[in-house]
C-alpha cells in the first residue's frame, strides 16, 4: 500500500532529519514506527501523507508514484490517506463545530450531502454524543477532540491510515478506545496502518510489526538519540 524508498527529508537541506530511509507497509498491514520525540519520524509521516516534499527518494501509494506533494498531490491519492496528528487542537479549526470538523473532508471533495449520514455514524462509533457534535473545540476535552479527528480521518474510508503520535496526549482509556475504533475500521475495510509513536509497549500491542526509526545525527545533547552507523531498520514481532 505504501512504499517509501530512500527518503531524505527535513527542513534544512544540509541537515535533513530523515536520511535515505526505506519503509514499506503492505495492504492491510499495521506497521509501528518507533522513535523518541523530535527524531524526524513525524516528518517521515508527513512525507508518506504527501504533506511534505522530500529532498530525495520515492513515495508510492498503491503501487503508483506520488503525483505531487501538498497542494499538488492528486486528489485521489490525497483522499486515499487518512491522517491523525498528536495535537488535536493544532489540527482543528477553532471556528468549526465538531460536526463540521468531521464533515470537512466530505465538503472539500464535494460530497458533503452524500456523506452527511456517515458523519453521524462515525461520531457514534468514536463515542461522541449528538450534543458534543454541536460544540466547538474549546468546549471539549483533548480526548473528545481527538475522537472527532479520528472520525474525520476515517470519513472518506482511506486505504491507508497514518497516526502520528495519535494517543500521546490521551489517557489510557481513551487510547484503548481510539485504537479499538481504528482496528475495527481496518478489520472491516482492509486498510493499512502506519502508526508513528514513542511508546514501544503500545505499538507492539497495536501493530503487526514495529520498526525502530533509525537514529539520526544530533548535535543537541547527550540525551538525544545516539547515532547509529546503519539506516537499516530493525523489526520486532508483535507481542500479542
Amino acid at each position: 500500500m505504501l512504499e517509501l524508498e530512500r527518503i531524505t527529508a527535513g527542513y534544512d537541506r544540509r541537515a535533513p532529519v530523515v536520511r535515505e530511509l526505506s519503509l514499506a507497509v503492505a495492504d492491510g498491514e499495521a506497521v509501528g514506527l518507533l522513535g523518541p520525540s523530535g527524531c524526524g519520524k513525524s516528518t517521515l509521516a508527513r512525507v508518506a501523507a504527501l504533506l511534505h516534499r522530500p529532498y530525495a527518494g520515492t513515495v508510492r501509494l498503491a503501487g503508483r508514484p506520488a503525483g505531487g506533494f501538498r497542494f499538488r498531490a492528486p486528489r485521489e491519492q490525497r483522499t486515499a490517506v487518512g491522517l491523525v496528528f498528536q495535537q488535536p487542537r493544532l489540527a482543528a479549526d477553532p471556528r468549526m463545530t465538531l460536526r463540521q470538523l468531521i464533515a470537512a473532508p466530505a465538503h472539500a471533495t464535494g460530497r458533503g450531502d452524500e456523506l452527511a449520514g456517515r458523519v453521524d455514524e462515525w461520531a457514534a462509533t468514536v463515542g461522541l454524543t449528538t450534543e458534543l457534535l454541536t460544540r466547538h473545540p474549546h468546549q471539549v476535552s483533548d480526548g473528545q477532540l481527538q475522537r472527532a479527528c479520528v472520525a474525520r480521518a476515517l470519513l472518506l474510508r482511506p486505504a491507508l491510515l497514518i497516526c502520528d503520535e495519535m494517543t500521546a496526549m490521551l489517557d489510557a482509556s481513551t487510547t484503548a478506545a481510539l485504537v479499538a475504533v481504528v482496528e475495527e475500521y481496518r478489520a472491516a475495510s482492509g486498510a493499512a496502518l502506519l502508526a508513528v509513536g514513542h511508546d514501544r509497549v503500545l505499538l507492539r500491542r497495536w501493530c503487526d510489526r514495529v520498526v525502530d526509526f533509525p537514529a539520526v545525527q544530533s548535535n543537541r545533547s547527550e540525551t538525544a538519540p545516539t547515532s547509529s552507523p546503519s539506516t537499516s531498520s530493525t523489526t520486532e514481532a508483535k507481542t500479542s
Binding site: 523530535g38 487510547t175 478506545a177 509497549v201 545533547s221 547527550e222 540525551t223
Partner: protein, 335 residues
Amino acid sequence: MTEAPPTTRPAPPARRSPEGEPLLSVAGLSVRFLMPGGRDVAAVEDVSFDLAAGECLALVGESGCGKSVLASALLGLLPANAMVRGGARLAPEGPDLLTADQATLSRTVRGRRLGLIPQSPSAHLTPVRTVRSQLEETVREITDVPRSKLRAAGERAAERAAFPLDHLDRHPHQLSGGLAQRAATALALVGDAPLLIADEPTTGLDRDLVDRTVDELRRHVDDGRGLLVITHDLAAAERIADRVAVMYAGRIVELARADAFFGSPGPRHPYAAGLLDALPERAFTPIPGMPPELDALPAGCAFAPRCPAATDACGALPALAGGVACHHPREAARA
C-alpha cells in the same frame, strides 16, 4: 507515620518533620468555578490526604478529573473565579496554602518549602538566558548565599538534579526534553524545599526518558523529601509512588498503597480497575463511555453510568472509607 512505605524501599529518614507528622495535610479541599451563564463547575470535591517526608504520593486520573485544578490550588495558581473550601496545611507550623496571600506564598513558601517541578519545563525556563544564569538568580532570590558563592551554589543545584555541568551555559532550546526537565528540577531544588510537587513531569517524554526522569525524582524522595506527583501516566506512577490516589470526576475514589494497587490484590474501585485494564501492557480494553461533565454530575456515584457493577445503591454518593469510595468494591482477595 500512619502509612508505612513498602518494604522494598528503605525506611525514609524523615529528617525534616517530626515522626508521625505529615509534611502536607490536605483536608476537605473543594474547588468550584462559577462560569458565565451561571454554570457551576465542581472541579475538586472534598479531597483529603496526607503526605509524609520520604514518601511519594501519585495522584492519577484521566484529563479533566480535577487533578490539575487540585495542583493549581496547592500552588496558589487558581484563576479569580475559583471558590475554594477546605485546608492544605504545610506542617509542622506552616501556613495554609489555600488561604495564604500571594506575598506570603512567594516570600516564604514557593521554592523554600514547596518546590514545583512543572509540566512543560521549556515553558518554565526563560528562553533567552542560560541555565546557569537562571539557577544563580533563583539561588540569589531564595537563599542568603553570598554573591561570591553563587556560582558554586548553582552548580550544586544542577548536580542534585543530575544536570551535566558542561551544559550549564546553554540556553533552554539547546537542551533535549530530558535535560530541560532536569534543569527545571534543579530550579525546584535550589531552596532545598522539603516538599516537591511535580505536575505531569513525564508528558511528551519517551518511555526510556520517563523511566529515567521518574527514577531521578524518586531519589529526592529517598533523600527524605515528600513528593506529590500528578500524572495520567500509570506506568510512571507505578514506578515512583509509595501510594496512589485515583481521582474521578473531582473526587478521590481510591487511595491505596502502590504495591497493592498495581500488583496484588489490585485495585478495588471499578473505575481504577478499568483504568489499569486499559493499559496496552494489560487487557487494552477501554472503559465504555466518557467521564461526566463537571457541571452536570449525576447524583450519587459519578462513575455509575460507566460501571459494570452499578446497582440501585449507587444512586447514593459512596463515601471514601477504607481507601475506596464504592458501594461494591472489588474483592480484596482476587485469584
